[in-house]
């Protein structure tokens, strides 16, 4: 790899041993002790490297930090159920089911090194939203929510115990989160001066991307941002908020009516489905605008194809009556992931606001992360509002279908 980026690679087959899953945390304790102790040494090494890079533009020779990060990744993946085998101690040796690819060491920029701790703040903040817990404060109150990785692992634990297999969406979400966290650690530990890439399309998830879901997102955003509209983005969204509330009240009644129709007929009413789908599309357009995932001011109609970040929603199809009857309960796990992604989306908006105002562009990694979060939340809403009985796919791989579609053209 020539761009200096560390990349996470997965060769996991999703199979899980139930006993190993049940005792996963206890099994990981020896590794956690080693990670902690080794981490102190690596931290000390980072201080030495800071001086070395400032003077010579290169860290001192040796692979201790590389081995540590590999080991950290393996332990993190094991602990959070993104991988099955018990990892070896040391981070060296043969590749693990979830592992890292390192770039060829390069000379590092002295300025970026000198101010590394300051420069890392946005990445660390985003990393904490991926991590064990996220904290949201505002309006005089604060709430703590599960981070992306912890939320996915928590749900994956139950799923793996029951099925003996990790859901691919949750596994991919954990891999993405671990991959980003490791990039942040590598940046802080001065292994690279390449800023952590938050693009969810970047990790190698291994298996071919899933493309089958009745609710998919498309993005033709060009990353350009108008500084003035970015500056006033929150306030420009207010008319949409009013319309969202008014339209939402009517949609709520439509969803309730559709619940009865779907429960008795096994199929949603086409008119109600269309009405709700249109509202969901409008909701996605306005959120893409609010969170700076897209640039233009959206229209008020939720018309398909009218906005760069859009939803493809399949027509009504037969739905399982049991899933319909207990939809309110079944949606709870998806809401947990959705809540963690809402925290992430808020950070995307905050960082996007600064980059939008100052450079008039949105970083592609942040934009893609925003697209992924919006897609997942749209799928959660679609599931809850009976547009489909297919469960939301929590992995970022659905967006890879655009890449796959673009690849032959590029070739």
């Amino acid at each position: 790899m020539s761009d200096g980026q560390i990349r996470i690679v997965s060769r996991d087959d999703l199979e899980r041993g139930r006993w190993s899953v049940f005792f996963r945390f206890f099994l990981a304790i020896p590794h956690l002790l080693v990670v902690g102790a080794w981490g102190l040494a690596v931290l000390f090494m980072a201080v030495i490297n800071w001086f070395a890079i400032l003077f010579t533009r290169r860290p001192v020779p040796g692979n201790m930090t590389v081995h540590y990060l590999r080991y950290l990744t393996q332990v993190d993946a094991y602990l959070n159920l993104a991988a099955q085998p018990f990892p070896g101690f040391g981070g060296g040796g043969s590749p693990y089911a979830v592992d890292l690819e390192f770039p060829v060491p390069q000379e590092q920029n002295r300025w970026k090194t000198a101010f590394r701790l300051v420069l890392a703040i946005p990445a660390v903040l985003l990393g904490t939203a991926f991590g064990a817990a996220g904290v949201q404060a505002g309006g005089g109150s604060a709430r703590v929510s599960l981070g992306l990785i912890a939320g996915a692992a928590f749900l994956g634990w139950f799923a793996s115990l029951v099925r003996g297999r990790m859901p691919d969406g949750l596994r991919d979400l954990i891999i993405y989160g671990v991959g980003y966290s490791v990039q942040v650690a590598a940046y802080l530990l001065l292994l690279t001066d390449r800023y952590p890439n938050s693009d969810p399309l970047d990790p190698d998830y291994g298996a071919p991307a899933r493309t089958d879901h009745p609710v998919l997102i498309t993005s033709s955003d060009d990353l350009r941002r108008s500084r003035l509209t970015v500056f006033f983005r929150l306030l420009l969204w207010l008319p949409h908020l009013v319309w969202l509330i008014l339209w939402g009240i009517v949609t709520m009644f439509a969803v309730v009516a559709n619940w009865f129709v779907t429960l008795f007929a096994g199929l949603p009413a086409e008119g109600l489905h269309r009405f709700t789908a249109r509202y969901l599309r409008y909701w996605t357009h306005t959120n893409a605008f609010l969170y700076l995932v897209s640039n233009p001011f959206p229209g008020f109609g939720g018309r398909e194809g009218s906005y760069p970040v859009d939803l493809e929603i399949a027509p009504p199809a037969r739905q399982n009556r049991w899933k319909t009857g207990f939809r309110v309960v079944l949606v709870v796990p998806a809401l947990i992931i959705g809540g963690a992604l809402a925290n992430v989306l808020s950070l995307v908006a905050v960082f996007g606001w600064f980059t939008g105002v100052f450079i008039g562009r949105m970083p592609p990694g942040l934009r893609n992360l925003g697209v992924f979060a919006l897609r997942y939340q749209a799928q959660v809403a679609a599931y809850f509002w009976l547009l489909t009985d297919q469960y939301p796919h929590s992995g970022p791989t659905l967006e890879l279908r655009d890449e796959a579609a673009a690849a032959p053209q590029a070739a």
């Binding site: 003035l228 306030l235 207010l238 357009h285 001011f297 229209g299």
Partner: protein, 393 residues
């Protein structure tokens, strides 16, 4: 005929119950204020007048610039005709806010320096609050543009005629809901003041209107009161800073003044007056935008916003004269109800001392910036009442 009807309606609204032949004496402010008080209030207000005026001019300059260049922002919209118009209207106001911001900050610094604004209201608080307050303006301009652009799309030549009554309905709706949007309201707990309020409200025939206390002590030391709402939503709001700093007879004058507003339907009058002004302004907008495709086209919105703002500035002396008449009438009613010109005089003296209101500001400032009579004019009104009615009770 339309013009005759307009003047007739304006004349009706202009009329007040203050005796037309009331002879107001010209009093010497040095009889009511010490030289130090006068100078302090003068210095304080002089700075604020300059920042206010410069802020208005800067805002107008920004709107003029946006009228020239703003149409290009239409490319930042994926909304249709009206949605794009909303975006341009909001951006125009946003640019005006940005241009006015330095003067707002300077005024905030000055108010903090004179302890009129609480010291813990730092600049970040000011910026956040000021920024969020623009949100209300954005909503208002969006709704206004939704109405007028829809009308302009239907009646390209005569939309301006239909716009005034449509905006009247919107203003009435805003006036109705506004009391429910005011934060930090408590019931009036002081029994004696509440008893005064009940008696005064009954005398003015507005017994249904509640009096509520707004918590502002942490934000400012300035005293204030006002009326808000229409019909079932109308109420009198008194700041806690007023209750804490003034004597009961003075508070009675304030309450009688506010009930006077309600009793004489001043909120309705104000809405009607604004609708009346909206008619010629809408006509001017039609004239100014017709060469740019009319207001049904989003590209005309920046011009329309500038024309509205410029005309509002130009008619502000007339507008202020109207509101000053309403305030004068409320003062007169307060004197009639309380029959206590001494309390009224003390109220205005103390108000000037606490809020650093200049007793007699320059005429141009009174015309351009003030919607209330000057402190000395109000004291002179109290004296005029004393002369007319003979004595105090």
């Amino acid at each position: 005929m339309l013009a005759a009807g307009w003047f007739l309606a304006a004349g009706e609204l202009w009329d007040t119950s203050v005796p037309a032949d009331l002879a107001r004496p010209t009093l010497d402010e040095s009889d009511y204020f010490t030289a130090t008080q006068y100078d302090e209030a003068h210095d304080y207000q002089a700075f604020l007048r300059i920042t206010d005026l410069l802020g208005i001019l800067a805002g107008l300059a920004a709107l003029a610039f946006f009228a020239l260049k703003g149409a290009s922002f239409a490319r930042e919209s994926a909304a249709g005709r009206i949605g794009t118009g909303m975006l341009l209207g909001m951006l125009a106001l946003g640019c005006a806010w940005l241009a006015q911001l330095p003067f707002g900050l300077a005024a905030h610094w000055w108010e903090r320096r004179h302890d009129v604004v609480a010291q813990d209201q730092d600049y970040v608080d000011f910026l956040i609050n000021d920024f969020l307050s623009v949100g209300g303006e954005f909503l208002f301009v969006s709704l206004g543009l939704l109405i007028v652009m829809t009308l302009a799309g239907i009646w390209r030549r005569f939309w301006w005629f239909a716009a005034a009554p449509a905006l009247l309905i919107v203003m009435l709706a805003f006036a109705f809901v506004s009391p429910y949007l005011i934060p930090g309201l408590d019931p009036l707990r002081n029994e004696r003041v509440a008893a005064d309020a009940r008696a005064l409200a009954s005398a003015e025939g507005v017994s249904d209107a509640p009096v509520q206390v707004q918590r502002v002590r942490e934000l400012t030391s300035a005293p204030n009161a006002g009326v808000t709402g229409i019909g079932p939503s109308e109420k009198v709001i008194v700041w806690d800073t007023l209750l804490g700093q003034f004597e009961r007879p003075e508070i009675r004058v304030v309450l009688a003044h506010e009930f006077g507003h309600l009793g004489r339907q001043h909120v309705w009058k104000l809405v009607a007056w604004t609708a009346l002004l909206a008619l010629p302004i809408a006509f001017a907008v039609w004239l100014a935008t017709r060469r740019h495709g009319g207001l049904s086209e989003p590209a005309a919105v920046p011009i329309a916003v500038f024309v509205v703002a410029a005309l509002l500035f130009l008619v502000s002396p007339l507008d202020h004269a109207f509101t000053q008449r309403l305030e004068t009438e409320a003062d007169w009613i307060a004197l009639e109800e309380t029959r206590d010109p001494d309390a009224a005089t003390r109220l205005f003296q103390r108000f000037s001392a606490i809020a650093l209101a200049e007793p007699r500001p320059p005429g141009w400032a009174d015309l351009l910036l003030d919607d209330h009579p000057t402190v000395m004019e109000r004291i002179e009104m109290a004296e005029a009442w004393r002369v007319l009615r003979g004595s105090t009770d």
